[in-house]
């Protein structure tokens, strides 16, 4: 914990594009205030680079409030820096000490091809969602909100799962590059709610099959995803998905297009 301005040594992954080779490049940043956020520290570095006419470091970020899920980065070997329930944008520099060396890499997984430097393509997450991460309720279909009673504990548990921000830290931190946590969270959320029941079997089947075809790995229950998830989503939701999938595979009677 530092309270004075710091000098930091950064090793940042630079790679022009998916087709080119990348490497860690050393940078030094002076005058880092402990009140800065991690991304503001990168902003300062980028300003320096632009002034020198160099290509600034590309990284994804947007809301900087920990909710949009756009920021990523593997910091010192851990997704989002490995602090409990924290996204990269909410990591503040007071957690570091003067003279520290910080290694920054992109989120890496087969399913997340690199775009440039620290930015990766996470559209595989959307592709899984397209296969069933929804309830087919067209606009205008809805009945009164209170016509469906949902016990508070169930609503709360569904909310725990729904808190997923789709950042992909679960995939990036998984020793297998598996996407079970973000997918499990959605399948679990919708399986818990009565509205989600009619489509539950087909949803589980289609999403799991899509997940497998996109280059995500297989879950071997390390629970590293749960540990790095900035929203603290439990692997209980993966278990619920496993249950849903098992049930669906052996009871769903319509032919499934895969």
């Amino acid at each position: 914990m530092s309270s004075e301005n710091m000098t930091l040594n950064l090793k940042i992954w630079r790679q022009k594009g998916a087709q080119t080779e990348g490497k860690l490049v050393d940078y030094r940043v002076d005058g880092v205030s402990p009140d800065m956020s991690f991304l503001e520290m990168i902003d300062v570095l980028n300003e320096q680079l632009v002034r020198k006419g160099e290509d600034p470091i590309a990284f994804d970020h947007d809301c900087r409030e920990g909710i949009c899920g756009m920021c990523s980065m593997n910091i010192d070997g851990k997704a989002h820096g490995g602090f409990k329930n924290t996204t990269t944008c909410q990591v503040h520099m007071r957690l570091y000490n003067n003279g520290d060396t910080i290694v920054i890499e992109p989120f890496r997984a087969q399913a997340f091809p690199l775009v440039k430097d620290l930015a990766v393509d996470r559209s595989a997450i959307d592709k899984v969602m397209m296969k069933g991460g929804y309830i087919s309720a067209n606009t205008g279909n809805a009945q009164d909100g209170n016509a469906i009673l949902i016990p508070k504990p169930i609503a709360d548990e569904a909310m725990d799962a729904a808190a997923c921000i789709g950042c992909g830290a679960c995939v990036a931190s998984c020793p297998n590059g598996s996407g079970m946590l973000f997918m499990g969270a959605k399948i679990s959320q919708l399986a818990l709610l009565p509205q989600g029941q009619p489509e539950a079997p087909l949803r589980a089947l289609k999403m799991v099959h899509e997940h497998d075809s996109l280059g995500f790995g297989n879950c071997t229950n390390h629970a590293e995803c749960e540990a790095t998830c900035p929203k603290g989503i439990s692997i209980e939701h993966i278990a619920r998905m496993n249950r849903e999938y098992l049930k669906a595979a052996f009871t769903y009677h319509e032919k499934t297009r895969t």
Binding site: L24, N74, D76, G77, K78, G82, K84, V103, E105, R108, A109, Q110, A111, F112, A172, S173, C174, P175, N176, G177, S178, M180, L205, V208, H209, H211, D212, G215, F216, G217, N218, C219, T220, N221, H222, A223, E224, C225, E226, A227, T228, S234, E236, I238, A239, R240, M241, N242, R243, E244, Y245, L246, A248, A249, F250, Y252, K255, T256, R257, T258
Partner: protein
């Protein structure tokens, strides 16, 4: 391509993982039975040999059971191997990767390696004991294989004993992750109970590991 959900199950990540889980749990069950039988070594040589004879006398039934066991084992191993090969491809290749300390454990990380050690162990185990030196003994007028003697003789070697102890500690490590993991894979994880499942897995791993390893040492002391 139109396939049925059931067909796809056996090719999906979750389906295959669940098969690894079920076969793993069955093997866990087998280990308990095996340990219970082996504990007869400590009762008397006759008790142990009679137990072994009883098993051998099942005749063709024994082959069916053995084939089933082998099938379970091969399925467990084969699927785990396949999943692991896929995972080696899908995982991110980092320059630097560290654990948070809240998820991955030494046991979970080493599952493929402990599994491999157990496979080697199994082959050697069958060669040295099941297909080991054939002695005969007469108990209550019945001629039967003296497996007791084979066992005690085998464990008279300190190297063999050490290897067994090592292998059994490996088995403990493997099941310490595998037991609870299988429950999770099958979807039997409820916030209220899962802590206890994990505890049970740990107790199981310690008991089975210590049981087999302890027996090896006991045999060694008995023979030496």
């Amino acid at each position: 391509m139109v396939t049925s959900a059931v067909n796809h199950y056996f090719r999906s990540s979750i389906g295959r993982k669940q098969l690894v889980a079920v076969t793993g749990l069955l093997l866990c069950g087998f280990l308990v039975g095996h340990l219970a039988g082996n504990l007869l070594l400590m009762v008397s040589s006759n008790a142990f040999n009679l137990y072994a004879h009883k098993l051998f006398s099942l005749g063709p039934m024994l082959y069916v059971i053995e084939a089933g066991l082998a099938g379970i084992f091969i399925l467990h191993l084969g699927l785990a191997f396949k999943l692991n090969m896929e995972n080696m491809k899908s995982r991110g290749k980092y320059e630097q990767k560290t654990k948070t300390g809240r998820g991955t454990t030494f046991a979970s990380q080493t599952m493929p390696y402990t599994g491999l050690i157990l496979l080697i162990f199994l082959v050697l185990h069958l060669i040295s004991l099941k297909f080991g030196t054939h002695y005969e003994v007469t108990v209550d007028g019945v001629v039967m294989r003296d497996l007791y003697r084979t066992t005690i003789e085998y464990f008279s070697s300190p190297i063999a004993t050490a290897w067994y102890v090592f292998a059994m500690l490996t088995a403990a490590l493997h099941t310490s992750h595998g037991f609870a993991s299988a429950f999770q894979s099958m979807g039997w994880n409820h916030g209220k109970y899962f802590k206890n499942v994990k505890r049970l897995g740990l107790i199981y791993a310690i008991l089975v590991g210590a049981g087999f390893a302890g027996l090896s040492i006991w045999c060694h002391l008995k023979g030496g």
